[in-house]
């Protein structure tokens, strides 16, 4: 067993060897290196065939039409294209957007940008289990609401939102519905025939594919129009210009194809490992699981170890590659905004660790992690004045702290 052990599959995944092999076939003189847009010769046709196959494999995972898949550079671009694209195209209809406080920054910051452009955005509070309150959601919709953007699976706490129920509400009100599925594709079954979703963002690198490639599903029935954000050669039916990166696209197609084949067995194995990890931490007092345990992907375990500060715990667990908060925010000293939105107090938010498991996680690795965590929580609590006060029965809320 090699250390550090990777428990950060929600940040990114290694490229599956089978995917990497396919990608390598699309680079050199001997390979399929042509420009898929070159319609005048065989190099172009071959590259176009490879792109079409990938488009089909991606569409197959979500039961969509390949023509509904628009390639982008990743889920961040897909989210930008979907949200700005809809807002700009339908601005005459209204200028109100509804989203949730626990969305990824790619959605939240895009919404902030639209606010600067004169749009109005409602940021819903989730319930304390991380799920959206459907009644509060309905109440937030207005006659001038043009778009709802809600993520399928949360990147920090792994909870699964009820996309079916939300889509039924938005479709009835004729409001566009965008779903950020970066963390759900390949983990949760998605059937576009059943879900009333107009746009959905995907990423390859969360799914054993390469970084730098993603896709946006844009529904054809009913037809959804978006304003392009990148202009140029009119690729991807004018929605996203730029030469298609054959090797990246082939990589994404292959990892989505594998996901369709292996999702059920992968999930079952990962659930078993996650439960083993959870059971192994059972003996530690004062731990709190963040997010609903039922409506949750098995890949994620987000726990707050009360009275132990997250960054020092990560330092103690140097043989385990875990994260506190999300990778995008852990450079800052602020506690996770997702956990704050759940109503967790700052202490518990500061004390949280995200373990995310994946295709290559083993039982041996889980057992090693359990041992390390148990040993180090004890050590850090011995160092913690808060733990001592808690053990002495002192109510920490009764103390006047000197905030700094």
């Amino acid at each position: 067993m090699k250390t550090p052990i990777y428990f950060d599959y929600s940040a990114t995944t290694p490229v599956d060897k089978r995917v990497a092999d396919k990608m390598c076939e699309c680079l050199t003189t001997e390979g399929n290196f042509g420009n898929p847009a070159s319609s005048s010769h065989e190099f172009g046709w071959k590259a176009e065939d490879a792109v079409n196959q990938a488009r089909k494999d991606i569409a197959d995972l979500i039961n969509a039409n390949p023509k509904e898949i628009v390639f982008t550079s990743g889920a961040t671009e897909s989210n930008n294209l979907a949200i700005k694209g809809i807002a700009h195209f339908y601005k005459k209809k209204g200028k109100h957007i509804v989203t949730c406080k626990t969305e990824h920054k790619a959605v939240l910051d895009t919404c902030r940008q639209l606010e600067r452009e004169g749009y109005e955005v409602t940021y819903l509070d989730p319930k304390d289990n991380g799920l959206i309150d459907l009644e509060a959601f309905k109440a937030a919709l207005r006659d001038d609401t043009i778009l709802v953007s809600i993520m399928h699976v949360n990147n920090e706490i792994g909870v699964i939102q009820d996309i079916k129920a939300i889509g039924d509400i938005t479709r009835e009100r004729k409001i566009m519905f965008h779903v950020d599925a970066a963390q759900s594709a390949g983990k949760v079954p998605i059937d576009m025939d059943e879900l009333k979703v107009d746009l959905m963002s995907f990423s390859a690198h969360k799914n054993y594919g390469p970084k730098g490639i993603g896709a946006l599903y844009v529904s054809r029935k009913p037809r959804v129009r978006i304003e392009a954000q990148t202009h140029g050669g009119g690729h991807e039916r004018g929605m996203r210009s730029g030469t298609l990166a054959t090797h990246q696209i082939v990589g994404m197609g292959e990892c989505f194809r594998l996901a369709k084949e292996e999702m059920a067995t992968d999930n079952e194995r990962i659930r078993m490992l996650r439960d083993r990890l959870l059971k192994g931490l059972d003996g530690i007092e004062e731990t709190y699981i963040n997010g609903d345990m039922e409506q949750r992907v098995p890949h994620n375990l987000n726990i707050s170890f009360n009275f132990v500060e997250g960054e020092s715990l990560i330092m103690a667990l140097k043989e385990l590659a875990v994260s506190s908060g999300s990778a995008c925010t852990s450079a800052s000293l602020e506690p996770s905004y997702v956990l704050r939105a759940l109503g967790r107090n700052d202490e518990l938010a500061h004390s949280s660790i995200r373990f995310s498991l994946g295709r290559f996680t083993t039982e041996e690795e889980i057992d090693f992690a359990i041992e390390k965590i148990n040993a180090n929580i004890g050590k850090l609590r011995e160092l913690s004045p808060l733990w001592e006060m808690f053990k002495d029965g002192i109510d920490l809320n009764s103390i006047e702290w000197t905030a700094h």
């Binding site: 132990v308 500060e309 020092s312 330092m315 700052d346 004045p385 808060l386 702290w401």
Partner: protein
């Protein structure tokens, strides 16, 4: 974030961890920071009748740099007079531990902690 070797050393082998009876007349206790901010330091000093710090203990809830800052401080204050200990500047701690700019507040907290402990001791006299 990469930590300096000195921070890692203090973090992995913290010096003078523990508690002393805060109600004793010769013990000064300083507790600074707040759980909501992600760090709380408690520094205790035991002072002789001629005003020399003969022992120091700490407990810290916080990141590696906060733990290292308080651990280092307990080493530094032992054997010093109250006046000398009160003159320790956060910049000296930050320099010794090679703290990056985002962690300077940990050394500030340590300076506040020793000042608070000295004040607490003096208030008992």
């Amino acid at each position: 974030m990469a930590y300096s070797e000195k921070v890692i050393d203090h973090y992995e082998n913290p010096r003078n961890v523990g508690s002393m009876d805060k109600d004793e007349g010769n013990i000064g206790t300083g507790m600074v920071g707040a759980p909501a901010c992600g760090d709380v330091m408690r520094l205790q000093i035991k002072v002789t009748e001629d005003g020399i710090i003969e022992d120091a203990k700490f407990k810290t809830y916080g990141c590696g740099s906060a733990i290292a800052s308080s651990s280092l401080l307990t080493e530094w204050v032992k054997g010093k007079t109250l006046d000398e200990a009160g003159e320790i500047k956060n910049t000296a701690i930050a320099e010794e531990l090679e703290l990056p700019p985002v962690k300077i507040h940990c050394s500030v907290l340590a300076e506040d902690a020793i000042k608070a402990a000295i004040d607490d001791y003096k208030s008992k006299k």
